[in-house]
Symmetry: C2
Subunit: 205 residues, 2 copies
């Protein structure tokens, strides 16, 4: 069973990251979101172990201090974290994981895992991003200014990612993303027993 | 001008490497073969500086001893070598290079250049390779036995390459190769000024 791929995608808000992720999951169902821990209370319908692992703050902090998390963050008084062992087990059992996390989380994850694809998606320009956010009509002008300021900061950290995609045309950007995943799966680490099987006359299942 | 890609493809004889390389050059004319130095005499029609740089053995050995070559080999009493500086200049000026060299040359090149894609192409199995060579009908049984022995040795060194492609179906193998090249070009090193241009509102030419 070949190993799964760890894929982390970051992008400024409004760049089309969620659309790209949904397209990938739709086309390649082997990808799933990793399940995180959080201290925020479950919302109606959320299932423990499926949507999140719901833990209390003391437990979270104790886990964090024992390096249980591959990445963690505090957002609006709630903690969120990704269990490192869980990620490794998923990949080893051939499941591929998508991480939809912020730049800080991505860089923590990159540091703590010795595997994975870290992709940064750019808008065609900051001006184009601002126009998209205005057109979307869901944010007030102050929120849009904040998002543009954040985008500026996020783009300034893009140099730490492995791959850059410009989402100018959605189809081109999606083909870029698929090429990154396809090429990654051709790395020897995903099928370490291949040479032996070719020599014996078998190929991978 | 984004940097060019250095692509090295190795495969046992009969695996379809030349076909894949010709398909890539046909579809992506930015790729060209790197020009090597050799001590063998020019054949009729061969042009110095285009097909090869033709040098005499003393000159070759002197160049080799000054680390002029990114890789070199002696084959049937003739020397062949790839000028390292020439490769760097080509890549810096945006030209992409293909290396069609043997496993030993590829591994030297990988060691001496700090860039590049090193791809190993497998036959579906050694048995399938033997059948292809028999079907091709250009080699006598002894030559085929030698090729299979060499294939065994080459496959045993495939672990040192970055990517593995199985040429079971030519179209699939070619799509794999194109995905590797496409993904590579999305690495930040090929467009280092991109974040600044996005922030300013421009994108790469």
């Amino acid at each position: 069973m070949p190993k799964g791929v760890l894929l982390t995608i970051c992008a400024p808000s409004g760049t089309g990251k969620s659309t790209l992720i949904n397209m990938l999951i739709h086309e390649q169902p082997e990808f799933e979101f990793s399940v995180s821990c959080t201290t925020r209370p479950p919302r109606p319908g959320e299932v423990n172990g499926k949507d999140y692992y719901f833990v209390d703050p003391d437990e979270f902090i104790s886990l964090r201090d024992r390096n249980f998390f591959a990445e963690w963050a505090k957002v609006h008084d709630n903690y969120y974290g990704t269990p490192g062992k869980e990620v490794e087990n998923a990949l080893d059992s051939g499941r591929s994981l998508i991480f939809d996390i912020d730049v800080q989380g991505a860089l923590q994850l990159k540091k703590n895992m010795n595997t994975g694809l870290f992709v940064f998606v750019f808008p065609p320009s900051l001006k184009a991003l601002e126009q998209r956010l205005l057109k979307r009509g869901t944010d007030d002008p102050e929120t849009i200014r904040t998002r543009i300021r954040n985008a500026h900061h996020e783009i300034s950290q893009s140099g730490l990612f492995d791959f850059w995609i410009i989402n100018d045309n959605l189809e081109t950007a999606f083909n870029d993303l698929k090429a990154i995943v396809r090429a990654e799966k051709l790395r020897p680490v995903y099928s370490p027993r291949l040479p032996g099987m070719i020599l014996k006359g078998d190929t991978e299942p």
